[in-house]
């Protein structure tokens, strides 16, 4: 059995009185990419937000490295090594690219490790040369793809053990989507565990080691990407029966 | 359940309020009740605060000395906060609920004018602590209102004192500055009204708000008009700031007159040396030490000065004395005629030679103020203290 990075047990989450996900149980093994696919409104983003702590109203369990983080605050979860790349990027739009990146390492800031952080910034620039070119630009003026890269770069600055990606391909031109998925693969190869939520099922399945299909807030299918790709049920989930 | 707790607390508070209201103030049966309304807090606290303190001190002294013919004096003081509505309600409450024999206050001219019809209608003597001559002069009849008196000198007296001082010093081209408060506006109106009578030419008429930070602009404009003197009419910090700006702008060659509102030594101190040479008209109580030993007011003013300093550890302002005068005027009437509203009124109206803090009062049916312009002495700031001038 592979070491588990994160698992959820019967997780339910609510928006007001509306239950957005129901009894979701998933496993994310260490060092792997796990994808969660499903149509719009299936509860994929809710699942990610419940893991990262942005949604507080929930029951069930989120276990990270054998530690129950269900009711922890977001900043503590971040410090434990989970970074989220939120849906719609959520950049600090009025700040520069470099400031966005720098703030990604906020939890690690102190006087002593200034050089460490500079190293990390350089590392990130190595991964995303385009961001280095734009480092003084206000992030709100970047193109969609660049913003997505910046969002990933920001999350990566915390050197997380696990990164949660929410719809990285949304609103991005197909060519750039390819680039973004390359980055995801690179991230994973450098040792980061990835939990990916995607509507773009084919792309998501291609990079994943394992995948879950969500519909109506429940896990309706799970399996190896290859099996799911050929499963007609997947198409049904998206396009109806 | 915090909410439940809260509800309990709120209801306890409300019940508490109710109890407070219902218990009211315990009064011995034979006490003489007198009501007072001062602007203790709010925009006119410079008037009401010393008035309240003085009145409380005066009543305490009277009661310590055995009260009025054995009756303790119960002074019920309400704070009107400079608010017309609150003042009106307070006066009516004193009349109808507290059933007082006479009323003292309010501190502000506007509010005195506002409640004056209430006193007239309810036939109760009211001794105002505000300056405007309109309080004791019914414009329609040209006579005083029947039930209303006032102890402060009218603004016109202060203006007359200033103008005559100017005349003797050959000044006839002046600039005026005033705060946009009731105090400033009524002083300004009197300055404008009386100027032609005294041959004064007003070359500038500038204003500033009660919370303005700097009056350099207005003074610069005046400087450009080159008057011989400036008269400033305001209260509170602005009257100090204006003096400082006057000095900073190097306008010492333009004589600076302040209103009687400047009459606290604290102001000289706050002016940080800038007040040297500033002139102002002051009542006797502000210059008690300077008065000649045989001055009729020497004794009362010195005692007041000492008692006030001992009790509150504050310097006297111009205004506390008005409350002293009012309280003692009413107390004298009470001791003579008891708690009979009409009799009190009649007694005050014929009071002569009453020695108060701001002058020797001689009331008459035609004069419900009882003072002349002699009640003001022109004073100059010299070496950080008042000095009498001619």
């Amino acid at each position: 059995m592979m070491a588990l990075m994160l698992r959820t047990e019967g997780l339910n989450a609510f928006y007001g009185n509306i239950r957005a996900i129901t009894d979701v149980t998933i496993r994310v093994p260490k060092g792997k990419v796990v994808s969660i696919i499903g149509a719009n409104g299936a509860g994929k983003s809710t699942l990610l937000k419940s893991i990262s702590g942005l949604i507080q109203r929930k029951n069930g369990h989120v276990i990270y490295k054998d530690r129950d983080i269900t009711n922890m605050s977001v900043n503590r979860i971040v410090k434990l090594g989970i970074s989220q790349v939120p849906e719609g990027r959520q950049l600090f739009a009025h700040l520069t690219v470099e400031d966005n990146i720098r703030l990604g390492a906020y939890s690690y800031y102190n006087r002593r490790n200034r050089s460490v952080i500079q190293d990390r910034i350089d590392g990130v620039y190595g991964m995303f040369p385009i961001l280095e070119k734009r480092c003084k630009q206000v992030s709100g003026t970047l193109s969609g793809g660049e913003q997505q890269m910046l969002a990933i770069a920001r999350a990566f600055m915390a050197r997380p053990d696990m990164i949660l990606l929410d719809e990285p391909s949304m609103g991005i031109a197909p060519l750039v989507v390819r680039e973004i998925f390359n980055v995801i693969v690179n991230l994973n190869q450098s040792g980061t565990t990835v939990l990916l939520v995607e509507q773009n099922a084919k792309a998501a399945l291609k990079v994943a080691h394992y995948a879950y299909v969500l519909e109506g807030g429940r896990v309706v299918l799970e399996g190896l990407p290859k099996e799911l790709l050929d499963n007609p049920k997947v198409k049904e989930v998206y396009l109806g029966g | 359940m915090t909410l439940k707790k809260l509800l309990i607390i709120v209801s306890v508070c409300l019940i508490g309020f109710g109890l407070c209201i219902s218990c009211g103030k315990k009064v011995e049966k034979d006490a003489y009740k007198v009501g007072a309304v001062f602007s203790v807090t709010g925009r006119a606290s410079f008037l009401g605060d010393p008035e309240k303190k003085t009145a409380e001190m005066a009543v305490e002294a009277i009661n310590k000395a055995g009260g009025i013919n054995g009756h303790p004096l119960d002074l019920i003081i309400y704070d009107d906060e400079g608010d017309a509505t609150k003042c009106n309600l307070a006066v009516k409450k004193l009349i109808n609920k507290d059933k007082v024999c006479a009323l003292i206050g309010p501190s502000l001219s506007g509010l005195s004018l506002a409640v004056l019809p209430v006193a007239e209608k309810n036939e109760i003597p009211l001794v105002s602590c505000a300056a405007s001559y309109k309080i004791v002069n019914n414009e329609e009849t040209g006579k005083p209102y029947h039930w209303v008196f006032k102890t402060p000198q009218s603004d016109s007296m202060a203006v007359e004192a200033i103008y005559s001082h100017m005349k003797t010093h050959g000044i006839n081209k002046i600039a005026i500055m005033s705060g946009t408060t009731g105090f400033g506006a009524s002083g300004r109106a009197e300055l404008l009204r009386l100027a032609p009578d005294h041959g004064m030419t007003i070359v500038a008429d500038e204003k500033y708000g009660p919370k303005d930070t700097d009056m350099t602009v207005q003074l610069t404009k005046i400087k450009g008009k080159a008057p011989q003197a400036i008269v400033n009419w305001s209260i509170g910090p602005t009257q100090v700031v204006v003096v400082r700006n006057w000095k900073d702008l190097g306008m010492k060659n333009i004589t600076f007159y302040q209103s009687h509102g400047f009459g606290s030594r604290e102001n000289i101190k706050l002016a940080a040396g800038a007040a040297e040479g500033v002139l102002c008209p002051l009542g006797a109580c502000n210059i008690a030490e300077q008065l000649a030993a045989d001055h009729p007011q020497k004794a009362v003013t010195m005692k007041y000065l000492k008692d006030y300093k001992d009790k509150y550890n504050e310097t006297l302002s111009s205004f506390g004395g008005h409350a002293w005068d009012s309280v003692h005027l009413v107390a004298d009437a009470l001791s003579a005629v008891g708690c009979d509203k009409a009799a009190i009124r009649d007694y005050i109206e014929i009071t002569k030679g009453f020695v108060g803090q701001h002058g020797v009062f001689n009331f008459s049916p035609d004069d419900h103020n009882g003072l002349t312009k002699a009640a003001f002495n022109m004073v100059v700031v010299k070496e950080g203290d008042w000095a009498l001038t001619d």
């Binding site: 939120p86 959520q90 703030l103 | 930070t213 602009v217 610069t220 450009g224 910090p237 100090v240 604290e266």
Partner: protein, 300 residues
């Protein structure tokens, strides 16, 4: 008799206007710091200024503490009060609508004002000018040395704040909270801490404004409200959330008031300044440097 030229007068008006405007600007900056992080307009901002002035008087004049130490102590003290305001008044509000927060900050201003009246009484207090009271004459205009301190401190505050916001990670984190609170949480920023910090900072800036203005205009317990109104005007005129806007707004208000008082009518100077403000708003609904995007979110 010494005369003053028209040019000299104009110059004097301008100088006074800049000084008074600098104070408004500083109050406006205080408004902005809190607004940026929390979307709250803190109507108790003027009370911080008042507290700054009166606390300085207490330390420097009453306790005879040397001016620099007294200055630091005062700023620290008022900063602490800013933190308390956040902790005791703002954070406990469970359903913070814009109106609730406005009322809460007004309530805070009453409490502070009431406490100040209780503690200091109603009389004004003076503070010695930092470098004496010997005015400098310059092109016919007279400049009090304290004017330089006022403008100087405005510049210092602006520089310090821009360094803080542009160069330090904490400053950037505060800006990040203002920009996108959820994202700020996701990078591990404690948003509540940043809100507290914003109250602390703006109280500190308010205190500085209070300290430097007291030698010019004295200080008493109820001056805060008027300063808050002027500062609020400045911040709206410049555009909510914009620091350069706050400074421009403050200076414009100060200069208009001064010029109108000198050239048109001293009684109507405040009204004139507000008419200008209204005209600006009618043509540019988000102030001179404001951002529509920011302003359109707020409803009552």
């Amino acid at each position: 008799m010494e005369q003053i030229s028209i040019a000299g007068q104009l110059f004097q008006y301008l100088i006074t206007g800049i000084t008074v405007g600098s104070i408004y600007a500083m109050v406006a900056i205080g408004f902005n710091i809190i607004y940026d992080v929390t979307d709250i307009i803190n109507f108790a901002q003027g009370e911080f200024v008042m507290l700054g002035g009166l606390t300085m008087v207490l330390f420097h004049v009453s306790f005879q503490i040397p001016i620099i130490i007294a200055f630091i102590l005062t700023v620290m003290g008022v900063t602490l009060i800013g933190i308390l305001v956040d902790r005791l008044a703002i954070r406990p509000i469970r359903q913070p609508s814009v109106l609730t927060l406005i009322i809460a900050t007004i309530a805070v201003s009453f409490v502070i004002r009431g406490a100040a009246m209780f503690f200091w009484g109603k009389n004004p207090f003076d503070l010695p000018a930092f470098s004496g009271r010997n005015p400098i004459t310059f092109y016919g205009a007279v400049i009090q040395p304290q004017y330089f301190w006022v403008v100087g401190f405005l510049i210092v505050v602006v520089i310090v704040l821009s360094i803080f916001f542009d160069k330090t990670i904490t400053g950037k984190a505060m800006k990040a909270c203002a920009d996108n609170a959820d994202a700020a949480r996701l990078v591990g920023i404690n948003v509540n801490q940043m809100i507290m910090l914003s109250f602390a900072l703006s109280a500190g800036v308010g205190a500085v404004a209070g300290i430097i203005i007291t030698p010019i205009s004295l200080m008493e317990y109820d001056r805060g409200a008027m300063l808050a109104v002027k500062g609020f005007g400045a911040v709206i005129l410049g555009g909510l959330g914009s620091f350069p806007g706050a400074i421009i707004g403050g200076l414009i208000l100060g200069i208009i008031e001064s010029l109108v008082a000198g050239l048109i009518s001293s009684g109507y100077k405040d009204a004139f300044a507000l008419v200008v403000l209204l005209c600006v708003l009618f043509f540019k609904p988000s102030g001179i440097l404001g951002n529509i995007e920011i302003s359109k979110i707020k409803r009552f």
